[in-house]
Each structure stands twice: as C-alpha cells, then as structure tokens.
Subunit: 307 residues, 2 copies
C-alpha cells in the first residue's frame, strides 16, 4: 500500500539525526554510535559530540523500514547509560534521548516519515517507558510543532509541565521516566546550514540583512538567519534553511544579494556547512540555467541509485 | 597501485556506450543487450536502436574492473551475428562493433580508463581477431583522436586504408576482420547534450550564436554547436559539451546569453537531453551561488554512494 512516489524503483532513503544528552563520556558516546552502526540496513554517517552542550548528535541513513530499529537500539543504551538527574549542559534538553527527527531523502514521502515517527514513539513508550511528544511534521497540534516550545522548562521542569493537561505527552503516561525524562520524535525536511560572506567587515550590515531575510521578522518562510563575523573576519549572514522546497538556496542567495546591494555591498562567497540533499543542488542548477523538464533521474549518479 | 583519487572509498564507476552496426533486427539487438545485462558487476541503462542508421547504442555502467568484460561479451555476439558485407545505413561505420568509449564517472581517473581501453582493445584482437584503433584520450597519435578521421572511407574502404602504414591499426594485423571490420576503442569525458531555446523564432540568430560558441569556429573549447528550430518552433542553440571540466555548462549558457543580447534576444529556457554527471550539476550550483569549498561529498546522496 505504498504511494506512487515510493514505488518508482528508487531506493527509499531516510536520514535520522538523534540527539542524546551525553557529550563528555567517550565510552557512552561510542556505545550509542555502535548500537546504530551494528543495526542492520543502516549506515552511520557522522557523530558530533559537544562537551559544553554535553550532547551528541548522530547522523545515520537507511531504508525507512530499518531506521526506526536502529534509533530504538541506541535509545535502549541511552536509557541504560544516561542519568538526567546528573546532567548539566548549555543546550536545552528534556531527556536522555532528547530528540529523534526522521528526514525523507530519496523515494520516501513526508507522510511515510510521519507514520514511521509515530510508530517509533509508540515503541519508545512500550519498550523503554519513555513518554513521547511528536513535533515538526509529526506534531499532533500546532503548539507542538517547534522544539523550543516543547523544551520550555527543560528536564528540571518536566514533572510540573506534564501534569498540565495541555502538555500531556502524545504517547505514554504524564510522568517523566525517572532517569531519562521524555523524548521528542518527529519528521522534518532536511535542514541546510548555509552561510553567505559579504565583501565587508561591517557586521551590522550582516545583521540588518539577516533581519530582512529571516521568517521571524517577516522575511522568507522556513529561514532562520543571523548576522555574525566569519572566522576570516568578514560580515556573514548565517542561515538555516529549514525547508528547501519552500525557500530554495538560490532564493535566499538572491534576497541576501539584493538586500546587500542597498548597502553598496556585494556577496564575496557562500558555503554549505555539512550536508545538502541532491535535490537542493539540482534546484540551484535548474534556477541558474533556466532548465526546463529537468528530472533528477537525468543525473547519472542518481539513476545509479535506483534499485 | 591505484591513484589517490581512486582510493578515497568512493565507488569506481565507469560508463560504457558501445555502438553496434545493427539497428533493425530486434533479436540481434536483444542478444547484444542481454550479453551486457547478464555480465556480472554492470548495469544496463539504455538501448537506443535507430533503423535508418541501422545502428544501436547501448549504455551501461559498472565498476572499472567489470565493464570491459561486459563489452567483450557483447562484442563476441556482435561478431557472430552481424555481417558487415550485408550492412547498409546512414551513419558512417567501420565494423560490427563500431566504437566502444569508456567514460569515467565517479572515483576513476581518465588515465585508468585509458589503460582499461587499451587492455580491452588487446582482448578484442586476441579473442575475436578484431583489429583495433584507439581514439579520443586513448589515441596513440593526434590524427586518431577524432572519430570522423578514423572513419573516413568507412567499412568499404577498410582494406585499402589499413594497407597504408599511416593507418596500421593500434592492435592486430593490418587486415579487417572478414565480416566484422575493425573496432575503435577509447576513453572520453561524458558528453552533455545541452540545448538553449531563445525568445525568438529567427533561426538565423541561433545559427550566428552557435558559430560564436563552437570550438571549430573559434568559440569555447570542447563545444560543438549548431542553430536549429526546436520542436516548439523557437530558435535553438543545440550543443554537445564534450568535456564539462574544460567548458562547464554555465559557461556555455553565459556565452549564449551574452551573444543573444547582441540581437536583443533573451534565453527562454535550456534543457539537458539524456544524462548529466553529478559533478556537472554541482559545478552549475557552485558557480551560481559562488560556493566556496563545496565538495561533492557534501551532497547527501553522493556520500551514500561511498563504498
């Protein structure tokens, strides 16, 4: 009973980026990563541990059928090895398995990822007794779409928060797990971290451009932006593109370019930090070349990924 | 003894596009395609048979180690099933296995493809007694780089041509195979068929732009171009980009754009016909967004193709 999109013979690839509340003890971080690496049908891409946040972010990919099992295996170890009552760190957090987003990459609909996120949430409660909130595309109500809203009060405020009927968890009883708190599970578009360096060292210009570009102050939808100084000393507009199907990379580039022109400033260069989906790259080429009828299957390497 | 480029853990993918002198008898064409499809380690992508050319073009991909074996298997059948003495068709040709280009796609150097092409040529002579010319990047001398030069005189003129010491084959004796003629084997960059439609129906404008763009009349290197009318009636600059590492797609686009501006004409749209390598798409995005330090490994799907 799969949708047409999913039966075209393309590999069904999902990315999963669980965040765990441990960024200091190497053995614990290794154990979490190993649990994923040893799960069948998935591939570990990256482990980033941050000591000051006391948090690690693990990226892995695999078939939609295989990814939730790997996330569950790592969660099992996190519940065993992390005690939130002893946890300190700069990053806001609610639990040992703090958040698990599923991200559709190739041949998988957002709808299928939402369904998988909900099933994973049910399993986290059934097996590990972790109460679960669903967020982003999997949210059950609009107040639960954004992580900062769900995280308000943090781990320390969980007992009081869950007692409020408005914040009853989506799955499980309204009491935090005694050592692992609660977990937030959801589905979202891939996030693209994208920075534009300006031909000026005036950070104030970058800040004013960022204000014009970001959604929260009336700019482009699904764009977060701030003005900062780059490591090389240039003024930089540092952005998160939360949904490249809503605001593609080239549109963010063009708005920064036209806003910068108001200050007589040009773009020096831009950079993608970390990973970017092929479709987002193809969209940029499509826009620049006014490409008509360009299908990603025309990219030789994409054709090779068909099953 | 592999080069650094080939040991980065990326799949070593080569495309092979053999052309056979049979475009009418479906059973023969199927037998050739089956020989490739049944070879281990390769994947059949496309079979295009042209009746008026009486010729078929088969595209397949695979590991550098597996591709020559598949080409040899199909050549064996072609020698069995095609008699060039009975062959007629509009396209110039020299043999049953007319030409076999190897095309580096991912994780393989041109040098490695040249080496593989030379080994394949030796095998075609050893096993099938096909004399072989090497062309393009595998050519032994500059007069043999271009297919039209090697093909001059066609199958019917082969006996006389090979008797000329200047046209002694690179492998084998200077006599054509009695029924299969000779074969041309080589290595080349992927060819991108790229058309740009203009906002005019004046084909003369397209012809004048094509003349400014193509290498043969002093334009961009590794570009073939002609002015034609598109199916929809627009003036079209129809190009082959023979080496996108020499002239990338966006540079051809920009030159057509600036030449068209001389006639007060804008670009309506462009189109890629058939396949395009991921690196060529990434180059277009890189240019449009002034991307700095952008590596193809940052494209999530490309990372997934690592071994």
């Amino acid at each position: 009973m799969r949708s047409e999109e999913e039966t075209r013979g393309v590999a069904k690839i999902v990315e999963c980026v669980p965040n765990f509340s441990e960024g200091r003890r190497g053995q614990v971080i290794d154990a979490l990563a190993d649990a994923i690496a040893q799960s069948p049908g998935v591939r570990l891409l990256d482990v980033q541990a941050d000591e000051s946040h006391n948090r690690s972010v693990i990226s892995f990919v695999g078939d939609l059928d295989a990814v939730p099992g790997a996330a569950l295996a790592a969660s099992r170890r996190a519940v065993d090895l992390i005690d939130m009552n002893a946890h300190t760190g700069e990053h806001p957090r609610l639990g040992a398995v703090d958040v698990i987003p599923l991200v559709p990459i190739t041949g998988v609909s957002m709808e299928a990822c939402v369904t998988a996120a909900r099933a994973l949430g049910a399993a986290l409660w059934e097996e590990l007794r972790l109460p679960v909130f669903f967020y982003a595309e999997a949210a059950s109500r609009v107040e639960r779409r954004r992580l900062p809203d769900i995280r308000k009060g943090e781990y320390e405020g969980l007992r009081a928060k869950l007692a409020d009927p408005a914040w009853a968890p989506d799955v499980g009883e309204p009491r935090p797990h005694p050592t692992a708190g609660v977990t937030v599970v959801g589905a979202r578009r891939p996030l693209i971290a994208y920075n534009i360096n300006l031909r000026t060292d005036d950070v104030d210009v970058a800040k004013r451009i960022a204000k014009a570009v970001r959604e929260s102050s009336g700019g482009l939808p699904a764009v977060q932006a701030m003005g900062v100084r780059s490591a090389a000393g240039q003024a930089q507009v540092s952005m998160n593109l939360l949904d490249y199907t809503t605001t593609p990379v080239h549109r963010a580039y063009e708005l920064v370019q036209s806003e910068a022109a108001r200050f007589g400033v040009d773009i020096l260069e831009s950079e993608v930090v970390g990973l970017i989906p092929l479709d987002a790259v193809a969209d940029a080429a499509r826009a620049a070349l006014r490409l008509r009828n360009f299908d990603r299957e025309q990219i030789l390497e994409a054709k090779l990924m068909e099953e």
